[in-house]
Assembly symmetry: C2
Homo-oligomer: 372 residues x 2
Amino acid sequence: MDLTREIPEINLNPIQRGGILTPEARQALIEWGDGYSVCDFCGGRLDLIQKPNIQEFIYKELPAFLGCDVARTTNGAREGIFTIMHFLKKEGKGKYALVDGNAHYTTKIAAELAGLELKFVENSGAPEYKINVEGYRKFIEEEIPAVVVLTYPDGSYGNFADAKKLAKICKEYKVPFAINGAYSVGRCPINMNEIGADFIIGSGHKSMAASGPIGVIGMTKEYADKLLKISALAKNKEVCLLGCSSRGATLLTMMASFPAVKERVKHWDKEIEKARRFSAEMESLGFKQLGEKPHSHDLMSFETPILYEISEKHKKKGFFLYQALKERGIGGIKPGKTKAIKISTYQLADEELAKVIGAFREIIGENRGLLE
Amino acid sequence: MDLTREIPEINLNPIQRGGILTPEARQALIEWGDGYSVCDFCGGRLDLIQKPNIQEFIYKELPAFLGCDVARTTNGAREGIFTIMHFLKKEGKGKYALVDGNAHYTTKIAAELAGLELKFVENSGAPEYKINVEGYRKFIEEEIPAVVVLTYPDGSYGNFADAKKLAKICKEYKVPFAINGAYSVGRCPINMNEIGADFIIGSGHKSMAASGPIGVIGMTKEYADKLLKISALAKNKEVCLLGCSSRGATLLTMMASFPAVKERVKHWDKEIEKARRFSAEMESLGFKQLGEKPHSHDLMSFETPILYEISEKHKKKGFFLYQALKERGIGGIKPGKTKAIKISTYQLADEELAKVIGAFREIIGENRGLLE
């Protein structure tokens, strides 16, 4: 079976940009690749291993980074959301999860698995698709939810809703508030306690330069005392993590990348500037950026009617774009997509983005004859 | 932070022996290390990706290997057990999990998280600690369990109980039967349908030469239709796996090692012979092998009263053994342990095992003066 990987020179896929390993993580991956390597020095609790110093990472570094009281690693962001929802469902204070209309599908599926119903606070529709957090209030007043979730930012438009305001609303009604930070934790500065949330979820492979699957959850001390309950049957093991959660090279890659990740979030302002410049250039080609404007995240959706028009007449149909970009060393746009495309500029150099803009310009030019 | 790994030349730890990466897996790890690498070619369902051919692996190779109708990968064996238990708890046909007294702690913790009570079929006690599967019958007759679990073999003594007989008992009472094969799948031939079980669970990092965390579950078609329910809210996504389960380099390492793993299980008879020879040699040093005799698995426990006696007078106390083995390039015995030790001979060469026996002989000889 052929297991070689075809990597485009420039990968625009938002789920890829934040997960590219640092050289340190690549080294850790090779060093700790073997199955249970990390367990050689375990005294019964993976999160307390000091060689390598997982304990310091989980008990000191990670909570400081997330701005929370207590943190743990999980098998991914979705697994972290499920862990929180499964716990809150058992708490029995509500029957449903109240989430933003831009929520990632994994939030929905986590609720389904946890046995929670779902209600959605709709977005404002085209072109900005914003979430007005005041919309949560009506639902809460009708019926107290088990948990309120905000996708921050969401993975479709890269919008940041007013999380602090939503935290205040949740406090008012004493409803637990979880922030899905799969696209923020590890990319930009974010602090759970400053926002006033009860839980925060992050993704290692999406935004923390870690090899997947791995995620993080952070929480307040109050919730930690209940959520991280010790097993009645297995000594010292935390039930909600099935004892260990992320065990292996995934965790070591996250730790190895961590110094670089801490550093990169400090330069988030540069990433925003870059995203805005890129958006303006894309619009000058006749595309239309969706989501908040001016934009404050590297993840952006663009309506690209010109490309769609070409696809209708092109002999390769919708696949012409994928192919044309591939020939230019650019990947990450789903094969067949031409009506609207999702792009991330994260950690791409100005020259790389110039190459992307140039490629789109060329592709339109080449196919000009197909447009009337 | 220091992330270098200290690897003993010979690692006797049973959780390590089956998870050492093949050269092919090591290559796949480097190739597919980046966060979401595998998702570049995903059309919405990870298990249907054909480049690399995950689809063939999950839909053809894996079910054939496990002897089941339908298979999936999971984030680990414990996550697989939880997935099954969580589903069966919701089915509502029983309130408890009926498991063998030698069950791994993760089976207990999975039941706790799924909200199932636990009942245990006790083992026969020292020195063999066998499970008589007829013991399950009494419990089932008293109250139908949600699931019957057999740890096959268990991780303490490496005992194989009579799984086929237990399958017949379960069929008689129409109770779902799950085999925890964390120490068999990938090490020795095992076939779910031949045994007559409904579910089988395996561990990638423990026994399939994969980088963790990753596991596999197999099941009958009947259960697959219900367990692998598609989300009502997220297109095509299987709820119980939160959409994708193992996504990333972990899966690719499992696939890369798979040809070697399929080959190695064919030589299981050699592994048993080796384990038996090793056991006899250990006993000739004055140690006593626990568990089934003659033994049929590479995982073995030994009572080592001589080593304990030395530890009581040694200035390093119980740590003398760990240290003395380490000096000889041997690892995998928990620091401080001397009363009883757990060892695996899996995939070790005769010369390596001779070195281990020689080391124990030397260590006893050196400390002869401490024994009266």
